[in-house]
Amino acid sequence: MTTVMSKPVSAPGKSIIEKLNFFTALALGALSAIVVWRLALQFLPQDTEVRLFTREDKITLLSMTAWFVGFMTGIGALVGPFRWLMGKDLTHEENMFLAGKDMGVKRYFRYTTDHKVVGIQYLVITMLIFGIGGILAMLIRTNLGTPEGGWIHPQAYNSIVGTHGIVMIVGTIIMVTGPFGNFIMPIMIGARDMAFPRLNALSFWLIVAAAVPLLWGQFLGGISTGWTAYNPLASQAPLGMDGYIMFICIFAISTMVAGANITTTVVKMRAKGMTWNRTPIFIYGVVASVALALPAFPVFFLSQVLSAMDRALDTSFYNTAGGGSGWLYENLFWIMGHPEVYVILIPAVAALMEMAPVFTRNPLFSFNVAIMGIAGISGLSILVWAHHMYMSGWAPLLNTPFMLTTELISIPTGMLFLVLVGTLWRGRLWMTMPTMSIFALLWNFMIGGITGIYLSDVPADAFLHGSMYVTAHFHYTLMGAGLTGALAALVYWFPAMTGRMFDKKLSWISFWMVQIGFNIAFIGMFTVGLAGQPRRVEAYASTFNTGNMITTGGAYLIMTGMLVLLYGVISSWRSGVIAPKNPWQAKTLEWTVGYPVPLENFDVLPVVTSDPYGYGKAKS
């Protein structure tokens, strides 16, 4: 793309691109879903087989697919491909229109290709997802306040647990690479936009399209299987399972598209002079995360396609009566499932590594070790999946090799600790909420890591697997480490994204409430795990009462802290202190463009001549 031109959008009549937006998408999606549902109801033959739900599953899956196709057509995702087919590629003016030139607020409700708009869209949807997942978490914790469970019906409770799981997993997957990977990353590498701006818009709107089947599924019996949706439990689950299946399939496409896009952008579009040695560590984190998702998510996608075929067509991939195997599902699921936790964790840790030099005014300790750590974790993570299946009995002889690969991951993980600790050492601490988040991450990730060593050990796992201990462990890594990094990133990059400073006092209050609440809640959960409480239960023996009460109390403190944070986001965004151009005096490129960031970021492309962490050295 070339420099910004001041030509107005010339529109002979109103072209189709200009008519499409979020509302036409909703309308077309709903319309196609209803039409297909009606037709399927009319014309699909009745089941002759003994299996119960096959026809209903077909109808549900077809209507959900129709919604998906209708929505994506209505938002304008197909315009580009069809223009290519016709041989009429989009003109420069049309591309500028798609980028949201001179459109104000409306561009947030369109198939807008500008990476900054997509970044903000991702930020908002991530907050919405956390809001929903958080409400579900509070329902779970409230129900577990008393041993006999009680006021939530078991079926609804199981569905809440499953939905909380999948919603939070998706939220944490996109929480760093979505908002900051899209808004900040291209500016940080000195690019005008992503490599494929239309794919960028596609990856965001796919998530919106995916959300509807999940919601829809809640009215068809919900996801009563936990987020792992193990078969054959999933094949006997109600129609809500089809919502889960559609959701995962669409979300997997979104992740793959985003992965190809972000990786290409970083490989091909870094500014002149930004050698790999001068590329900020955050970029490495984002690329490792999305590149890891590229081979991982298709496997997840396949596992759900096969699940859908089992349900709707009565095939036997997982159905043992017909020659299928539940272990097949577990393998497919966890081949994706373990890389996925590092997809969540790596960019969050990398974001804190990016901030550590800024807030200690120290160079990043051992840049190469940081890269080795990230690369080592990414590489090993695709070889460890079966540690989720030690106790499944699928291959007892493979337990030892998988124990080896799993424990090897502690070496590159240790490197990440070394980099953070080495950067802090003799730093001049500038006390802000992101600074304290580094310490919080070290604390939480240390607990998550050490408990992970117990769990990676086969004999100890024979006791701990499937208990609340596991739940507490992965909340320490994904929430204690991952979310802490993401919240710090929000405060750190808030000025670049909104032009205003995040309210300092509110950031501190919410930080302490969330961190203290978090540790209370999940240390409480460790105690009941050690005492033998299984996961995903809606009632438990009265001996676990104290631990559960502590956890529930901690959860309410987290909730209050998160509400404070939400208030902070809204109030600072509306009326916060106007931020100076480079409020943290950082040395990376995203702070050179000012606010509001021009449509194509840089009028003239920058050339990088120095290392991004040159603190404490001769100024360049």
Binding site: K268, L306, G323
Partner: protein, 200 residues
């Protein structure tokens, strides 16, 4: 810390190499998808749970036997022919011969349409139903993958031929190169499916 240079128009080669990398990365995802299907095939076959990989004869249906290997390999052969035709066109455009490009892409389009007709026929006339054991499930899995791949190929070939016809590839032809990458993968993936289904 940073000085700035003047902007410039991006050269088609830069855009082309960027697009090629993007497509290759998307193919990585698709390759992972196809390879996990191969995993599914061999896992279920090796497990043979309840002896239902290829169910024995019952009162309701005769014993299930693997398909004659011809079916899978024929689709691969048609796809390989399409790839050759496309490559012929690509060589033409590289040598500046637009007529050869138009011919090659048209033949490739015809080959992809032939492939989908044949693939549809294979699925429609398969001598079993969905619930006839794990081998049959895998057959449908590969057949549907092929079907979807060929549908995409038709879309791409149609666009490629249309754009060749309109003379869009006179100035630069990186689109044609990328379509060639897709054709190669298309052949390989159908080869994988055919290999697995012919029951090695």
């Amino acid at each position: 810390m940073s000085v700035e240079t003047h902007a410039h128009h991006e050269h088609p080669d830069v855009v082309g190499s960027r697009n090629r990398l993007g497509v290759v990365l998307l193919l990585v995802a698709d390759i992972a998808f196809a390879l996990s299907m191969i995993f599914v095939y061999f896992y279920l076959r090796q497990q043979n749970v309840n002896d239902m990989w290829l169910p024995a004869a019952t009162s309701e249906h005769p014993a299930i036997t693997p398909l004659a290997s011809g079916a899978g390999w024929t689709v691969t052969a048609i796809a390989a022919f399409g790839l050759l035709a496309h490559f012929y066109g690509l060589k033409g455009v590289r040598a500046g011969n637009q007529t050869q490009l138009k011919l090659g892409s048209l033949v490739a389009l015809v080959a992809s349409i032939a492939a989908i007709v044949y693939q549809f026929n294979t699925i429609a006339t398969a001598p079993f139903t969905f619930s006839d054991g794990a081998y049959v499930s895998c057959f449908y899995m590969f057949a549907i993958l092929n079907f979807v791949h060929i549908m995409l190929t038709i879309f791409i070939s149609l666009g490629n031929w249309n754009r060749a016809r309109l003379g869009i590839y006179k100035s630069d032809h990186w689109h044609v190169d990328i379509v060639n990458v897709w054709w190669v993968w298309m052949v390989v993936s159908s080869l994988l499916g055919a290999f697995a289904l012919s029951h090695p």
